[in-house]
Symmetry: C2
């Protein structure tokens, strides 16, 4: 039975599911920051997924990265699987701009998270569902 | 004509080639830190590679990550494509330990790089070539 790690559930808003991966929005308005979590219990590293699921993860990741880069006008995408604090495999997809608060450093540990206002979250949720038409709702 | 970006060439030691990707060792003895650079000119993002090369990158990355994790006894692998400073696509594969100098933070910006001694580099090069038998020399 898959469940999103409590720390991710606390820091993020659930946007939907791509089939293999749950799509989460980091509740930090400093950056458009999405996270993919493969809906598989007990996986910490990409190589622990089956070959088939690794390839599906790559397809979902590349589609997400390209969609975000184009729609949000990214200067660079930052993609990372770290997991030193939250061991459940999750892959960051962060839209970076040359004028964002951490540029050119990686975002971690640079700024306090700036929670979204409720209205902003709904606007973003709708934008992401328009952008990725096969993003299924998660009950 | 593919060439490793001058900043990567300055910071790293070339170990070999997996076929698609050049394997570089970051010259920082604080962490076992390897970098894959797809040998394709002008690529900044994973999604800009062809589908076939994306899948090959994933295979080379997963093999590298699993080999390093097992042989170096990692507590966690950190895998990241950032590229805010060096735009040429390159994917970090960093062996992390609970007692390393940056744990649990990401490694970037935490410690000054600690260059290897020449003898250490040769030992590591031989260890990596034993670990990954199909790692071809780069002339």
């Amino acid at each position: 039975m898959f469940e999103v790690h409590p720390k991710l559930a606390e820091d993020c808003i659930t946007i939907g599911s791509f089939g293999l991966c749950r799509l989460l929005l980091m509740n930090d308005a400093n950056y458009p920051w999405l996270i993919l979590v493969p809906e598989r219990e007990g996986v910490m590293e990409i190589y622990q997924l089956s070959q088939e699921h690794q390839q599906q993860l790559l397809r979902e990741s590349s589609r997400l990265a390209q969609g975000l880069a184009e729609d949000f006008g990214a200067d660079k995408m930052n993609i990372a699987a770290l997991g030193n604090v939250v061991p459940q495999l999750h892959i960051h997809h962060i839209v970076r701009y040359r004028n964002d608060p951490a540029w050119p450093a990686p975002v971690w540990g640079k700024t306090e998270a700036k929670p979204y206002q409720h209205g902003q979250i709904e606007v973003l949720r709708q934008r992401l569902h328009r952008l990725f038409a096969d993003l299924a709702p998660v009950s």
